[in-house]
Symmetry: C2
Subunit: 231 residues, 2 copies
Amino acid sequence: MALKLFELVGADETRPFSPFCWRTRMALAHKGLGAETIPWCFTEKEAIAPHQSEKVPVLLDDDKAVVDSWVIANYLEDAYPEQPSLFGGEGGRAVGRMLNWWGDMTVVGGIFPLIIADIPKNLKPVDAVYFRKTREARFGKPLEEIMAAREKSVEGFRKSLDPLRLTLKTQAYLGGAAPNYADYIVFGPFQWARVVSPFKLLAEDDPVYAWRERLLAAFDGMARKSPGYDV
Amino acid sequence: MALKLFELVGADETRPFSPFCWRTRMALAHKGLGAETIPWCFTEKEAIAPHQSEKVPVLLDDDKAVVDSWVIANYLEDAYPEQPSLFGGEGGRAVGRMLNWWGDMTVVGGIFPLIIADIPKNLKPVDAVYFRKTREARFGKPLEEIMAAREKSVEGFRKSLDPLRLTLKTQAYLGGAAPNYADYIVFGPFQWARVVSPFKLLAEDDPVYAWRERLLAAFDGMARKSPGYDV
């Protein structure tokens, strides 16, 4: 077994970001698996092209390439069944598919406009140009304009987390008494933001804040040790 | 074992509605359990007061009363472990708590303003008065006004179902290849609407429509046999 993980980085290779790569990092830690990191930048398409992907994470398990964070989580669950379960059974895996879409749309999609102009500050010049060009085309306006009203629009984002917030009233994690992949789905985007932006997404008295703190401390503080802002 | 279920009805006792009672009805069927129905109307608070509840569903299992659809689902899972699982393991149960909140907020909360003025048409006069008074106080305007723009506002509701819709691209049910309580959480609100309102919540070419059709057909067509509109 030799696991390698292509992870998105910017100018500083010690600061992996990407909400999706962090889901995989947490999943690997949960499974007790180490993986050699292969730093990867936005414009290095040719490095992952042989693995039939244009995006990261890409996991290499010996000569097998696995693409897409959800597919990787399923792969790890099936390939390493003796290690702690990521889903807590087939019901958790099945409904996890929906949670993953919710996480992509509500959490990744909700955070993106709140931190978007901070991201290129973390990138190499060539990647910053690429990022600005592609994302401004997608949103139809300058990054700074997308993010301009964030002090106000963060309120809508916080409100959109109500299903998570209410769940945390009666259990410590989405996975129950202990975290599992359901938590990493939602935590990955928060860690992405923490690495690249000083913006405070959560109020300190929010149960979601306390939950994020617990996940920052998980696996011997793995996520907190990764350089980022104090948010 | 003698199960009895207090279920919300209007003027016609053969048309139980309430999104929460339908979750429980589907859960009982999934477990292969029969329950005697006890029709209950909004203003009959005294009938369930002895069970420490002001709302339905209330499940009576011999002399034990269980209140709240989520608590009832957990009770059934634990009290009848030999019957088919509602959650597909502890991971499914844990993340099901979050799905239940999502279902309450996005699906029940999304449907309510789209059908709200249709509801009292199904109620006894005394309950219709109660319903109008309490709900108009909650929304701060007449029921008809809340619902007035539904042809337009239904689009936002449909969009809010994207995490479900995208999930159904790769699996038949939230529970996976077969339905489980995750599906009933979301189906219950649709069945509530179908019983009391002719309004078409879903376009016929929507994968969510096809999923709802499959659940209407489940358990020998139990939900479809219950009188309702052809939506």
